[in-house]
C-alpha cells in the first residue's frame, strides 16, 4: 500500500484542480469498481453494488484536493505574488519550495518563497507577522516575459513533492487528504464482494470550504457517510495538552471538531467493529478544524455521518507524517464496517 500512497501524494492537485489525482485514482481502481461518474461540480464518485437482497448504502469520503497557492501577480523583474488556496499559514512558506507546471514544457517549475525586507525593522516585523502582502516567490526568472514563458496569473501550485519512508512512518505533502483516498482505493481493491452498496467519493474543494461534500451525497443519500481525513496530534514535545491524539495508537474515531459532532450511530458502529475485531483505536476531540462530515450531515433531510481520522503530525506543512500502523488498521476497520 505504500506505493499506492506515494503515487497519490506525488500528484499536484490543489483545490479546484482535482482532475489529475482523479485520473490516478481511477487507474488504480480499474477492475475493482462497478462504475464511476463525475457530478456537476467535479466530485469523483465510484461504486460497487452490494450482493445482498436488501443492501444498505455506505459512503466513504476522502477529499482529493490539497492546499496550495495561486499566482496573483508577476512583477517586472519576474517575481511572483501569491495568495493561499486553503489554509496555508504564511509562516510555513518561508524558505519553502512551491511548484507549478510549466504551460509550455509541462515540466515542474519550482519557486522559493520569501518576504520583503527593506530594513532590519521590516525583517523583524515580517517574521513576527507574516502575511501574503509582503511575500513573493522566486522562480529564477530575470524578467516578466521570462516568467510568463512558464506560468500565468491565476495559475495554481502546491508544495513541492518529496516522499520520505522512515521508521514505519510515511512523510510527504498532501497526506491531507490523499491518505484517505489511498485508504478508500485499498478498500475497493481488497473487498472482492460486499453485501452492501459501497460508494467512494473523492470530493473536491474541501480545503477552501467543504464545497464538494456539501453536494456529493445529494443523489446518493446513503444510510451512513464516513469521512476519512487527517487529524492533528498531541504527541510531540509539549504538544497540545488539551488533546490526546497519538501516532501508532490506531485510527481515531472523531467525536467532535469545530465543524461537526459525529452522529452517535457512526461512533457506535466504528467502536463496535474495532472492539469485535481487535483493531486498535482512539477517540478524538479536535479543538479546531473540520471535515467533510459537516457537508453530508447537512445534505437534504440529513445523512448520519461521522469521521474516521488518521493522526498526522505537521498538518498543512510540506511534510505531513503518518504511521502505517494507523493507516492499515483504518483499512481493516472500515472494511469490517461496510460489510456489516
Amino acid at each position: 500500500m505504500n506505493e499506492l500512497i506515494k503515487k497519490l501524494v506525488s500528484v499536484s492537485s490543489p483545490s479546484g484542480h482535482e482532475k489529475k489525482v482523479h485520473q490516478a485514482i481511477l487507474e488504480e481502481l480499474e477492475g475493482h469498481i462497478d462504475g464511476h461518474k463525475y457530478d456537476p461540480i467535479g466530485n469523483l464518485i465510484v461504486w460497487k453494488n452490494g450482493t445482498s437482497n436488501q443492501p444498505k448504502k455506505y459512503l466513504l469520503d476522502g477529499h482529493a484536493d490539497e492546499i496550495g497557492v495561486v499566482i496573483t501577480n508577476i512583477d517586472d523583474k519576474g517575481f511572483l505574488r501569491i495568495d493561499p488556496v486553503g489554509g496555508v499559514n504564511p509562516l510555513m512558506l518561508l524558505g519553502t519550495i512551491v511548484q507549478f507546471e510549466s504551460k509550455t514544457t509541462k515540466e515542474i517549475i519550482r519557486g522559493i518563497c520569501s518576504f520583503e525586507s527593506e530594513t532590519f525593522e521590516d525583517v523583524k516585523k515580517n517574521f513576527q507577522n507574516p502575511n501574503y502582502d509582503v511575500m513573493f516567490v522566486d522562480i529564477g526568472a530575470n524578467s516578466k516575459e521570462e516568467a510568463l514563458k512558464h506560468v500565468n496569473i491565476g495559475q495554481f501550485g502546491t508544495y513541492e513533492s518529496q516522499v520520505i519512508e522512515q521508521n514505519g512512518k510515511l512523510i510527504s505533502k498532501a497526506m491531507d487528504d490523499r491518505i484517505a483516498c489511498a485508504i478508500i482505493v485499498q478498500i475497493f481493491k481488497e473487498l472482492e464482494s460486499c453485501p452492501n452498496d459501497l460508494y467512494g467519493v473523492f470530493s473536491v474543494q474541501e480545503e477552501v470550504g467543504i464545497v464538494g461534500a456539501s453536494v456529493a451525497g445529494y443523489d446518493i443519500m446513503p444510510d451512513m457517510a464516513i469521512a476519512i481525513d487527517v487529524t492533528a496530534n498531541s504527541d510531540t514535545p509539549k504538544g497540545f495538552k488539551r488533546m490526546d491524539l497519538n501516532l501508532g495508537k490506531g485510527p481515531a474515531i472523531k467525536i467532535k471538531d469545530k465543524a461537526s459532532i459525529s452522529d452517535r450511530v457512526v461512533v457506535d458502529k466504528l467502536t463496535q467493529c474495532a472492539q469485535e475485531n481487535d483493531i486498535p483505536y482512539q477517540y478524538e476531540v479536535l479543538l479546531f478544524g473540520g471535515t467533510n462530515a459537516h457537508g453530508y450531515q447537512l445534505t437534504r433531510s440529513g445523512i448520519p455521518s461521522g469521521t474516521l481520522s488518521i493522526v498526522t503530525r505537521y498538518v498543512h506543512s510540506p511534510h505531513e507524517m503518518v504511521d502505517m500502523v494507523d493507516v492499515l488498521n483504518a483499512v481493516k476497520l472500515l472494511k469490517k464496517a461496510v460489510e456489516d
Binding site: 483545490s15 479546484g16 484542480h17 457530478d39 456537476p40 461540480i41 467535479g42 466530485n43 495561486v70 496573483t72 501577480n73 512583477d75 505574488r81 495568495d83 488556496v85 502582502d133 500565468n152 496569473i153 491565476g154 495554481f156 474543494q205 477552501v208 470550504g209 467543504i210 464545497v211 464538494g212 456539501s214 453536494v215 456529493a216 445529494y218 443523489d219 457537508g295 437534504r300
Partner: protein, 345 residues
C-alpha cells in the same frame, strides 16, 4: 438609462422590493421572456427558452446593496443604526441617508472638529454613529420613522466621458447589464437562460441557493461589481483590478475555486471577440457562485465583474468602457454555445 435608475433606487439586503419592481416592469416591457417567477424570499427569475433546450444557463446578479437598519430611537430623537452587509463606519461620517419607506432625509454627523481634542484620531465605531432626522425628541422621531426601518445611502448618479459615479454599483451593474442583454436579444440564445435577480447577497449569500429549487441549471454565470484598489495608497502588486483594463475574470474566491473549464471558456471567448479583459488580482470576497456550488445538487459557476472603486460606500467610481466591454462579453457567453459546451467533457 437602466444603470442610472438602478443605482439610485433604495434597496438594502432584505428590502429589495423597489429594485425588484423596477426590474420586473422592465422585463415585462421587453416582452422577451417566456415567463417570470418570484419566490418567497424575493428572488426574481425570468425564463427564456433557447435554441438547444437540453441545457440551462443561469445568469445572475444580486439586487441588494449594503445599508443600515434602525436599531433604537434615542430619547433625543436621534437614531441608532447597525450595518446590513459589510459597511465600514468610517465611510458614513458626514453623509446623507434616507430612512424608511417614506425616504425621510437624515444625516450622520460627527462632532465639530473644533471640539475634538483627544477624539481627533479616534476610530469611530457603531456606538458613535447616529442618524439625525431633525426630530425634537423620541416621540417626534417615532411619528416619522420606525424601529427596524432600513436606511440607505443617498447618492445621485453622475455620468462623465469615461466614468460613471454613483452608489450600489455592487451589484446594480450586474442587474443593468442583464436588462440590456435581454432587451437587445433579437434571436434565441444558444441554450435556455434564466435571468435570476437574487436577494440578500451582501448579508451572507442568503438568497441565491433557493432559486435552484425552481429550475435545474447546468452552470451559472454571475455578473458582479467588484473591488479595484488601484489608488496611490495600495501597492500595484496588491491591486484587485484596474479601471479601464476591461471586465475582470475571477479564478479563486473566499471559500470557492471557480470552475476552471468555465474560467477558460470566458478567457477564450473574450480573446476571440477581442474584448480587453483582466484577470482579477485578489482572491478575497465571495459571490453567489460559491453559494450555488455548495447548495442542494451543486452547480458549477464563474464570475465576470465590472471593476468599481470604493464599493460598499456611498460613492463608487467605474469605467464606462469596462461596463460596455463587460456587457459585450456576457452577451457573447449567453448567445453562443462556448460557455455551456465546456461542461460536456
Amino acid at each position: 438609462m437602466y444603470l442610472k435608475d438602478l443605482s439610485e433606487i433604495y434597496g438594502a439586503s432584505g428590502n429589495e422590493e423597489k429594485v425588484r419592481k423596477y426590474i420586473r416592469d422592465v422585463v415585462k416591457k421587453t416582452g422577451k421572456t417566456d415567463f417570470i417567477k418570484e419566490d418567497h424570499l424575493g428572488n426574481l427569475m425570468c425564463f427564456k427558452k433557447g435554441k438547444n433546450q437540453k441545457k440551462t444557463l443561469v445568469l445572475m446578479a444580486h439586487m441588494d446593496e449594503v445599508g443600515l437598519m434602525v436599531s433604537k430611537i434615542e430619547e433625543d430623537g436621534k437614531l441608532n443604526v447597525l450595518p446590513v452587509g459589510g459597511v465600514d463606519p468610517r465611510v458614513l461620517l458626514g453623509k446623507r441617508v434616507v430612512v424608511g419607506e417614506k425616504n425621510i432625509d437624515g444625516v450622520i454627523p460627527f462632532k465639530a472638529i473644533h471640539l475634538q481634542s483627544k477624539d481627533y484620531k479616534k476610530i469611530p465605531d457603531w456606538n458613535d454613529v447616529r442618524v439625525d432626522i431633525g426630530a425634537k425628541d423620541k416621540k417626534d422621531a417615532e411619528s416619522k420613522v420606525n424601529l427596524g426601518d432600513f436606511c440607505h445611502f443617498r447618492t445621485f448618479f453622475e455620468e462623465y466621458q469615461n466614468r460613471y459615479v454613483g452608489k450600489a454599483f455592487d451589484d446594480r451593474v450586474g442587474c443593468a447589464i442583464m436588462l440590456e442583454i435581454l432587451e437587445s436579444m433579437n434571436d434565441l440564445p444558444a441554450f435556455n437562460i434564466v435571468f435570476a435577480f437574487v436577494v440578500q447577497e451582501e448579508n451572507g449569500l442568503r438568497g441565491s441557493g433557493a432559486v435552484l429549487k425552481h429550475f435545474h441549471p447546468d452552470a451559472a454565470l454571475i455578473i458582479e461589481g467588484t473591488t479595484a484598489g488601484d489608488n496611490p495608497e495600495l501597492k500595484r502588486e496588491r491591486w484587485s483590478t484596474h479601471l479601464d483594463n476591461g471586465p475582470a475574470v475571477s479564478y479563486l474566491q473566499s471559500m470557492h475555486v471557480i470552475d476552471r473549464r468555465l474560467f477558460n471558456a470566458i478567457v477564450q471567448t473574450a480573446e476571440s471577440i477581442r474584448i480587453p479583459f483582466q484577470i482579477k488580482g485578489r482572491t478575497v470576497g465571495g459571490t453567489d457562485a460559491g453559494r450555488l456550488a455548495r447548495s442542494f445538487y451543486g452547480v458549477p459557476g464563474a464570475v465576470v465583474s465590472v471593476p468599481a472603486r470604493y464599493i460598499h460606500s456611498p460613492v463608487s467610481v467605474m469605467s464606462k468602457e469596462d461596463y460596455n466591454h463587460t456587457r459585450k462579453l456576457v452577451n457573447e457567453l449567453v448567445m453562443t454555445e462556448n460557455y455551456l459546451k465546456v461542461l460536456e467533457v
